[in-house]
């Protein structure tokens, strides 16, 4: 264990691994966190949207979409539309009924999982890494997958974009107002209903695009949804619900804990993510950066 830690190659590569996993998690968790913060809905379909995105990406690329980035954009739009429909047609009628929300979001995740199995079969499907970043990067004696660095960069760009959106635009101001105090936001005439749909679309789109961007690393396979959902939940709980900064830092934190944890204490591989979470919530129920009660 100590020998590993003193090995600079190990440290550098695992750090980069942590960052890239964190980047992927951020794409997934940012939307989850916003949705929860604004609508108080624990959207358990979020993992399904990620998986659906990955599968849609596979099909788009097969159908001749020229590159991964376009596919991610198109796939993101597709899942955003689906998410918006789901919010409008189903979730809308369940405001305040948190048990109903659990039931329906889990129910829809069953449907999506089975639908993907039906449409795309049970085999794992690859998403090719874009040609330009396919060969590994060799810097100062370290070899590292170039694509993962792109993922980290992309996550940071998305984070900045979201930050600007939330902190610097009128829409963002309305979202913040809604997260902080919903009755007040309603009272001052913010179109809360439209805001819900927009935020849900945004979250679903990010998750779907995340699935495609994660594709070259993770592939699309049955069970991807169930693998990712707990990670999103942990990130959001740890970082604090409704907080973009929390989701950002939480994602990278989990990236580090997961990557280093499973390398250094493989015996705890199954619980490596849950133990820190138990500690954090037990002593700080609002999460590390949360303002509101979880």
């Amino acid at each position: 264990m100590l020998a590993q830690l003193s090995n600079s190659n190990f440290l550098v590569i695992q750090t980069l691994n942590s960052l890239s996993l964190g980047g992927l998690l951020f794409l997934l968790a940012a939307g989850f966190s916003l949705i929860f913060g604004l609508m108080r809905i624990a959207n358990l379909t979020h993992g399904s949207l990620f998986m659906l995105g990955a599968y849609i990406g596979v099909s788009l690329l097969e159908a001749g979409v020229p590159n991964l980035w376009l596919a991610a954009l198109a796939g993101g739009v597709a899942t955003a539309v689906l998410g918006g429909l789901f919010e409008r047609l189903v979730l809308r009628s369940l405001a305040g009924n948190s048990q109903g929300q659990v039931l329906v979001t889990l129910g829809v995740s069953f449907i999506v999982a089975d639908l993907c199995l039906m449409l795309w079969g049970g085999d794992p499907l690859p998403i090719q890494t874009p040609e330009s970043v396919r060969s590994p990067l060799r810097v100062a004696g370290f070899t590292f997958p170039a694509y993962r660095l792109v993922v980290v960069a992309l996550a940071i760009v998305v984070a900045i974009g979201l930050y600007v959106l939330i902190e610097r635009t009128r829409l963002g101001a309305m979202i913040r107002a809604g997260v902080d105090d919903m009755p007040m936001a309603r009272a001052v005439g913010i179109p809360v209903s439209r805001l819900f749909t927009i935020v849900f679309c945004l979250g679903a789109g990010l998750a779907g695009a995340g699935g495609i961007i994660g594709g070259p690393i993770l592939s699309a396979y049955p069970g991807l949804d169930a693998d990712m959902l707990p990670l999103a939940l942990i990130v959001v709980i740890l970082g604090g619900v409704g907080s973009l900064a929390g989701a950002f830092i939480g994602s990278f934190l989990i990236g580090f804990v997961y990557t280093f944890g499973s390398a250094l204490v493989p015996d705890l591989a199954y619980v490596i993510l849950f133990l820190p979470m138990i500690l954090v919530i037990a002593f700080r129920p609002t999460g590390l950066f949360g303002r509101m009660g979880a």
Binding site: F36, A42, V90, S93, L94, N97, S98, Q99, G100, V102, L103, V104, L106, G107, V108, S109, F110, I111, A113, D114, L115, M118, A226, P230, L233, I234, I237, V241, D267, Y270, V271, F274, L275, M277, I278, I281, A282, F283, P285, T286, G293, A294
Partner: protein, 309 residues
């Protein structure tokens, strides 16, 4: 009067089932009973305490594993292993409740999920005790009062008796002063504190009691299956029982029973005829939420009342 008559008729039909149903249907019915008790135990938390737990399989699994381990490794007889397993389960619930009740709402849900995942990980990894993903097998069913319950009909009767007793006691519990206090903590926790109720203690005791009944369901589970695998502790198992409670109607006595029967039926019976049964299950949940958002039992009651008036 008619209510009593209905109840008596229903009970009679339940006890008479083995006279008409074949072995397969009896075994299915036994599983429904186990699931019904399990869901009823979770309902104490979800329905009456307003605490949505996504880790209730912990207690069913803990009881099953403990009982299996005690008989396989220590060679204990059922009369000894069952109470010890229950005691161990209650202890687990006491500790888990103590941790999980530091939060409410989504935090509580996540803590129960996390704690149950730790237990699941333990079942997977502590191979010396749990035999990992091979599971524990080679178990027997007990012989309560010297009566063998190896056959499908005997086991059904046994499970029926246990479940009726357990659900009866749960009904008493819910209608007791403590049950009223519990519902109070669900609706107005602050007011309950001002009225002199120790809200935390009430919730914690309920958590432990819910764990106890899940443990009883766990004993029935292990006696029925004579096998336990880490999947009994999985997130999927916890989610399934939660869905049963909510779909049937949380906070009612009949709701979780109906929900559990429905889930077992869809999963084990309809799946033989419908290839896409996972999708069907999803659509059933969707339909319930859209048309009977408070759950099957309260929703149907509302509809019947509307038709009558």
């Amino acid at each position: 009067m008619s209510r009593t008559a209905w109840l008596a008729g229903g009970l009679l039909a339940l006890f008479a089932l083995p006279l008409v149903a074949g072995e397969f249907y009896l075994n299915l019915a036994s599983q429904m009973l186990i699931a019904a008790l399990f869901a009823s135990s979770l309902n104490l938390l979800v329905g009456y305490a307003g605490l949505t737990s996504l880790g209730h399989a912990s207690f069913l699994g803990a009881a099953a594993y403990l009982s299996a381990w005690l008989s396989l490794h220590l060679g204990l007889a059922h009369w000894a292993s069952a109470p010890i397993a229950l005691a161990g389960t209650v202890l687990t619930a006491a500790v888990f409740g103590w941790i999980a009740l530091r939060a409410t709402g989504l935090g509580f849900l996540m803590l129960t999920l996390a704690l149950s995942q730790v237990l699941w990980g333990l079942a997977y990894r502590w191979v010396g005790v749990t035999d990992g993903d091979n599971g524990l097998r080679g178990l027997t069913r007990p012989e309560p009062l010297g009566v063998a319950i190896e056959s499908a009909d005997r086991f059904y009767w046994f499970a029926l008796l246990v479940c009726l007793l357990a659900i009866g006691l749960i009904a008493l519990f819910v209608r007791s002063p403590f049950g009223a206090a519990l519902r109070g903590t669900r609706d107005q926790p602050r007011r309950m504190g001002a009225l002199g109720f120790d809200v935390w203690l009430i919730r914690w005791l309920t958590f432990v009691i819910a764990g106890f009944w899940a443990g009883v369901a766990g004993l029935l589970f292990i006696w029925y299956h004579k096998y336990v695998h880490p999947s009994a502790l999985s997130l999927q198992a916890s989610a399934e029982v939660l869905l049963a409670v909510i779909a049937g109607g949380s906070g009612t006595l009949a709701g979780p029973v109906v929900g559990a029967v429905m889930v077992v039926f869809l999963k084990n019976f309809v799946s033989a005829y419908v290839e896409r049964w996972n999708m069907l299950l999803g659509f059933v949940f969707l339909a319930i939420v859209l048309f009977l958002p408070e759950g099957l039992v309260p929703g149907m009651r509302r509809l019947i009342r509307r038709v009558k008036s």
